[in-house]
C-alpha cells in the first residue's frame, strides 16, 4: 500500500498545491491591511498564469515568464487602484470588475497556446537532503516558487509587525483619516499595497501555469483566487494563519484525489468539494476562537481627503 516513496510524493504535491494559495493570499493580506479590499485576486492570478505561460512558451525562459506574470498582475491591480484609491470608486464592484476583466483578457491571451506544453519549473535538488525518506522531497526537493512563498511569508510577517513600512501600512488600514492627519500619503501607500497584492497574485498565477500544471487552460485557477481571499478573512489578517489555511486546503485537495483513486464509492463531486469545505470550516473555527481581532477598521472604506 502506501510506502514511504508514495507518502513523500503526496507530501510534495500538497506543498505545491498550498503554495499557489499562500502566495496570492499574502499579497491580498497586505492590500487589505492597508485598507483596500481587492476582490480581483482571481482575475490577477489568471492573467499572471496566461501572460506567464505565453511568455515562457515563446521565449523558452521560465524566469522571463515569471517576471512577465508578475508585471501582468501589477498592471491589472493598477486598474483597480486607479478606480478605488484615486477615484474613490466602490471597492467591491471594482474588484469584481477586475476579476471579470482578468478572466476575459487571460482567455484572449492564452487562446493560441491551448494544447501546448512546456517543461515545468525544475525542482531544486540539494544532494543528500532531497533524498531523505518521506520529507526529503517535500521539504528539500521543491521548485523555486515554493521557496519564494516561504520567503514571502517571512517577509510579510516580519515586515508588517516589525518595520516602519509595515506600521504605516497597518495605520493606513486602521484609520486613513488619522494617518492623513499625521502626514502619511494614504493614497500612495494604498496604491503600493494594491500593487504588491497584484504582483503576488501574478506570481501565484505563474506558479500555476509554469510549475504546478505546466500548460495553459482558460479555467486553470479554478476559484483559487476566491479561496485566497477567504483565507485572508478567516486568518483574521494574520500571515501565519494563512500558512495553516493554505496547507490545509492543499492537503485536503491532494488527499481527496487519492481517496477518489481508491474507489470508495463516495461521489467524486463531494470529494472535490472537500478542500473548500474543510478550509472554510477550519477557518471559521479559527476566527471564532480569535474573536475581537477584527478586520482593519478602514477596510473597504474609500478615502477622500477634504481640501
Amino acid at each position: 500500500m502506501l510506502d514511504t516513496v508514495m507518502i513523500g510524493a503526496v507530501l510534495a504535491s500538497v506543498v505545491a498545491a498550498a503554495t499557489t494559495l499562500l502566495i496570492a493570499s499574502l499579497g491580498e493580506l497586505v492590500a487589505e491591511r492597508a485598507g483596500t479590499l481587492n476582490l480581483g485576486v482571481e482575475g490577477m492570478m489568471i492573467i499572471g498564469a496566461a501572460v506567464g505561460y505565453a511568455t515562457a512558451y515563446s521565449s523558452g525562459s521560465l524566469l522571463l515568464g515569471t517576471l512577465a506574470a508578475v508585471l501582468a498582475g501589477v498592471a491589472l491591480s493598477l486598474v483597480f487602484a486607479v478606480l478605488t484609491v484615486w477615484l474613490a470608486a466602490n471597492q467591491v464592484a471594482s474588484g469584481l470588475a477586475t476579476t471579470i476583466l482578468g478572466l476575459g483578457l487571460a482567455g484572449l491571451i492564452g487562446a493560441p497556446f491551448v494544447g501546448t506544453r512546456i517543461d515545468a519549473a525544475p525542482e531544486l535538488r540539494i544532494p543528500g537532503l532531497t533524498d531523505l525518506p518521506i520529507i526529503g522531497k517535500a521539504v528539500f526537493g521543491q521548485d523555486a516558487f515554493v521557496y519564494a512563498s516561504i520567503a514571502l511569508l517571512v517577509l510579510v510577517t516580519w515586515g508588517l509587525a516589525r518595520t516602519r513600512t509595515g506600521l504605516v501600512i497597518r495605520a493606513v488600514g486602521e484609520s486613513h483619516v488619522a494617518a492623513h492627519a499625521l502626514g502619511h500619503p494614504v493614497r500612495r501607500i494604498r496604491t503600493l499595497a494594491v500593487m504588491f497584492g497584484g504582483a503576488c497574485a501574478g506570481l501565484a498565477g505563474a506558479q500555476l501555469s509554469l510549475a504546478y500544471t505546466p500548460f495553459w487552460a482558460s479555467d486553470m485557477t479554478a476559484g483559487r483566487g476566491w479561496i485566497a481571499l477567504a483565507l485572508v478573512v478567516f486568518s483574521a489578517w494574520k500571515p501565519l494563519w494563512l500558512l495553516a489555511g493554505a496547507y490545509l486546503f492543499g492537503a485536503v485537495s491532494i488527499l481527496q484525489l487519492h481517496v477518489q483513486g481508491f474507489g470508495l464509492g463516495i461521489p467524486s463531486q463531494l470529494l472535490s468539494s472537500l478542500p473548500y469545505l474543510a478550509t472554510v470550516a477550519a477557518l471559521v473555527l479559527i476566527s471564532a476562537l480569535k474573536r475581537g481581532q477584527g478586520a482593519p477598521a478602514s477596510l473597504g472604506v474609500p478615502f477622500v481627503p477634504d481640501r
Partner: protein
Amino acid sequence: MPGEVISGKALSGEAMPDIATSDPAASGAVPPAVLEAIGLTKRFGALVANDHVSLAIRAGETHALLGENGAGKSTLVKMMCGLLQADSGELRFAGEPITFPDPAASRAKGIGVVFQHFALFDALTVVENVALGLPGREPLAALAARIEDCVGRYGLEVEPHRRVGELSVGERQRVEIVRCLLGDPRVLILDEPTSVLTPDESESLFRTVDLLTAEGRAVLFISHKLDEVRRLCQRATVLRGGKFIAEVDPRRESSASLARLMVGAEVPRTPRVATHELGEPRLLIKNLTLKGDGSRGSALHAINLEIRAGEIVGIAGVAGNGQTTLFEALSGERRGEDAEAIVIDRTPAGALGPTERRALKAGFVPEERLGHAAAPDMRLSDNVLLTTHGDGRIVRHGVVRHSVLNAMFADIVKRFDVRFGGKDPKARRLSGGNLQKFVIGREVLREPVLLVVDQPTWGVDAAAAGFIRTTLRRKAAEGCAVLVISQDLDELLEFTDRIAVMSEGRLTQPVPVEETSREAIGLAMGGAHGAPAQEDADAA
C-alpha cells in the same frame, strides 16, 4: 515679560485682516511671531467658515483661540497645519510666507497639533501610534524609553505598550500630547485639551505648557473654559461666525467679558434649584459587580446607588475607572447575572436588554456621540428611530411611519435648537454641540423617568453646554431621575445635587454638593477609598 504691554482691544464684527500683525505699537517687548495667519478665507460651498481671519502665535507665549462651535476655530487650525488649503490669505512662518500642501509639511516645520478628535489608531499600541507621528525610523524600544522619559517629565501617565483601543478618552489625549512633544515642536496647537482631564491633570498640563513656553516654544490653546484661558494665556483671539472679533489680553478680562465676545450676548448660568421635593426611587443599583472584559471596560466592584425622582446625581472620576462599564451595565449593553442588581422604576432590569429598559422609560446618552449615540452615516431623522423604535408610536406592525418620525425629528430640531446645513444631513456632518443637543433631545422627548448621561458636554461649546445642563435640570424638576457621568468636575459642581466618585471600579456614596468640595472630590478621584469626600466636608 512677554505680553504684558498688550492692551486689550475689541473690534466690531468687521474683518480686519492685518490686525494681528500691525499692532501693538507699545514698548517693544512683543516676541516675534512664529506662525502667522493673515486674512485667511475658507469657503465650503455657500458657507464662509473663515472670513479674513488673522492670528499670530508668538514664541514663548500661550495664545488662546476662543469661539463657539462653528465659529471657525477648527477650520483655522486645519489651514495652519496643512490639513486644509485656504481660498485666500497668507500663512507666514518666522516671518516668511509659506504654504503647507499637506500636514507633513507643517510638521517638518515643527508644528504639532493635538486634535480634539484624536488622530489615533485603536488597533496599534501607544509606541506604534507615537512612531507614526514622528519622522525617521527610530527603533520602537528606544522610542518607548523616550516616551517613559517624557511621561515622567511632564506627568502624563501613559503606558507605552498598551493598545490604544483599550485606553480611556483621557489616556488617549495624553498619548496625543506625548506624540507631539516627542516631535520637538516649535508650535504646539492644543484643541480643547482639558475637556477630559481632572483638575489635577489640567494643572499638570498647564505646568507642561508653561515649561514649553519657557523653552521659547509657542502654544495655541483652544478652550471653552474661560477661567483656564485667563490663567494660562498671554493673548487671546476671539472668533465668532467665522470672523475675527478681537485680540485681547485674557488676564485683563473677566470670564463674563470673554464669554460676551465669544457669544455676542450674555451667557446664562444654569439656574440652581434651591429646594425640590424628591419622589420615589427611579434607579436602584444593588451590589452591582461585573468582571472587566479584558481590553475595554474595567471591572465594577459592588456598586450601590439610589437615585430618586427629581434629583441629579453626578459621578466624578478620572477616565478609565469603570464609568464606561457602569454606563453599559445601566443601558443594558452589558448584562450581569443578577436581575435585581439594577432596578428601574421598581422593575428589576438587570437581565433586560436596552430596548426593554427603554420601554421602562429610561433614556441613555453614551459618551461617544458618533458611532455610539448616533450612526455617523445615517440621516438625523433615521437616527431618531434608533432609540425610539420600541415606543410603539413610530413603528407600527414593523412598518416605519415616516410622518410621525419626521414630526418627531422636527420637534427635536426646534425645541433643542439643533443647527445644521441642509434639510436632513448625515449625523457626522453636525458639529459636536449640535449633535449632542440632538441626542439629548431625542432622549428627553421620550419623556423618560430615568436619564443616564455620560459626558453630557464634552467638546461642546459654552452656549450649548449651558443649554444641555439647563435641560437636564428642568427634566429633574419635572420628576425625572438623572444620572450624569462626567470628568468635568466644575460641571458636576455646577448643576448636580449629589456627587459620587468612581475610582478603580468602586463608587463612593454620593454626597450633597453643598457638603463637599473640589479638594475632597479630587482626593477621592485619586483613589482614596471609603467616603473621604464626606469626612473632609465634616471637618470643614
